[in-house]
Amino acid sequence: MKIFFRVMFLFFFVILFTCVWIGFFSVLPYPFSQINVAFLLLLSFLLWKESGIVVWMSFAFHFFLELFTASAFGIVLFSGTMTMLIVFWLYQFVITNRSWYATLFLSVLALVVYRILFFLLIFLEGVWSADAAGGVSLSSFFPFVFWEVGLTSLGVVAIFFVLNFFSRRMSTALIQR
């Protein structure tokens, strides 16, 4: 029963922050509208709980975002979920410690991997649909991705410091497997 309520709480939490992202963060002036709220919260959750449930939270978050995206269904879902899975493995087996620079590195890596997978799938969608107008010029997206990676990573590091201030749980130490 306790697990059920915990799952329902996380589910409600994901729906709430999807609403906040679409209705608030997306309408902030550029470049603040580029903050990736999903990864901001998921990475913070990963640092706090160190649980694999973050991958399923990522699945839910990106499924809801997929409902409001004009690109082919599955692109955002696949790239978001797979990125979180890769990040979780990296956190458990490669980075293995909790510090602000490890957090920064993890955040930058997560967003870079996400955008690589995302643009790869967008490119494949363009090839599949033979839509010349759907082709993208990668160099034009660099400013957007730069701001997304920069601001989101700074946000994650800021959350790390806040959590570190209020709880011993975030103290610099080897993570528990």
């Binding site: 906040v20 309408v27 699945f59 409001f68 004009a70 797979m82 899975l85 107008a133 997304e148």
Partner: protein
């Protein structure tokens, strides 16, 4: 290593199953339910954000306030003069049209929709509307604000919500006409949420800064005469068959709260 491979396999299977179910329509009810829930929530938050952004203007000094008031009075007087001239012209226009047996009214059939959110992914500049196919909206329908200012085109119409691709989105394309002497035709394309350009304008036709751009009516279901913007600059290279114009959009893409979607004319 084996447990990681199992996790990867398991999650990939779930994702592919969801994608498969989506394309075969098995998830339709679930998706609609979450669209309505999230649309409701984001709509409330977006309305709050819009009301904060449209707060009254503030001034640093009394002189700035007085100058702004004086400016408003001058503009108001000018508008009264323009209104009188407009009414005379309107009357003349009606008389001429009656003489030529021309149908005056455009007779658009529209659906009003509120904007409940925005997707600012780098690939798309999309607004989310709270009306969908149940209200008559369909993919390809144009959306306007004000008195015929084109905002964009609907790209996806679900039963209760729809996605509106703005004119400055990089995948946005409209057949357009310049209101110049030659009535040049070309293709208006968006540029990654920042700019709007008109391409494929014949090199030998004259395009001036300030010329107005309207929809040409050459693509269905886009009616003719919706205002897209004005020419801001012209790029012309010798020995190229076409020239290009950078446009200033008529509608403010960053401050849209309600739109009218044209579903018939």
């Amino acid at each position: 290593m084996r447990s990681r491979a199992r996790s990867l396999f398991g999650i990939s299977t779930v994702i592919l199953t969801v994608i498969f179910f989506h394309y075969f329509g098995f998830l339709y009810q679930v998706e609609e339910f979450f669209r309505r829930v999230i649309g409701f929530g984001s709509g409330k938050i977006y309305a709050l954000t819009s009301s904060v952004e449209s707060a009254p203007e503030s001034f640093d000094t009394v002189d700035a306030c007085v100058a702004s008031l004086s400016n408003c009075r001058t503009l108001s007087e000018q508008m009264e003069i323009d209104r009188a001239a407009f009414e005379l012209l309107q009357e003349e226009n009606v008389n001429l049209r009656n003489q030529l047996h021309f149908i005056a009214e455009r007779g658009f059939i529209t659906v009003g929709a509120d904007v409940i959110g925005k997707n600012s992914d780098p690939v798309g500049n999309i607004l989310i509307l709270n009306r969908g196919s149940n209200d008559g909206i369909f993919a390809g329908a144009p959306a306007i604000v004000g008195g015929g200012l084109l905002v964009g085109k609907v790209v996806q119409a679900d039963p209760h919500t729809s996605l509106l691709q703005l004119a400055n989105d990089n995948r946005s394309r409209f057949a357009a006409t310049i209101l110049n002497r030659e009535r040049s035709i070309g293709l208006v394309e968006g540029g990654y949420g920042i700019s709007v350009e008109m391409n494929f304008i014949p090199q030998n036709e004259t395009v001036n800064i300030g010329d107005q751009i309207i929809t040409s009516g050459l693509e269905t279901p886009m009616p003719r005469g919706l205002i897209i913007g004005r020419v801001e600059s012209v790029e012309k290279e010798p020995y190229q068959p076409f020239q290009r114009a950078v446009l200033h959009p008529a509608a403010d893409m960053d401050a849209i709260a309600q739109v009218s979607v044209i579903i018939g004319y």
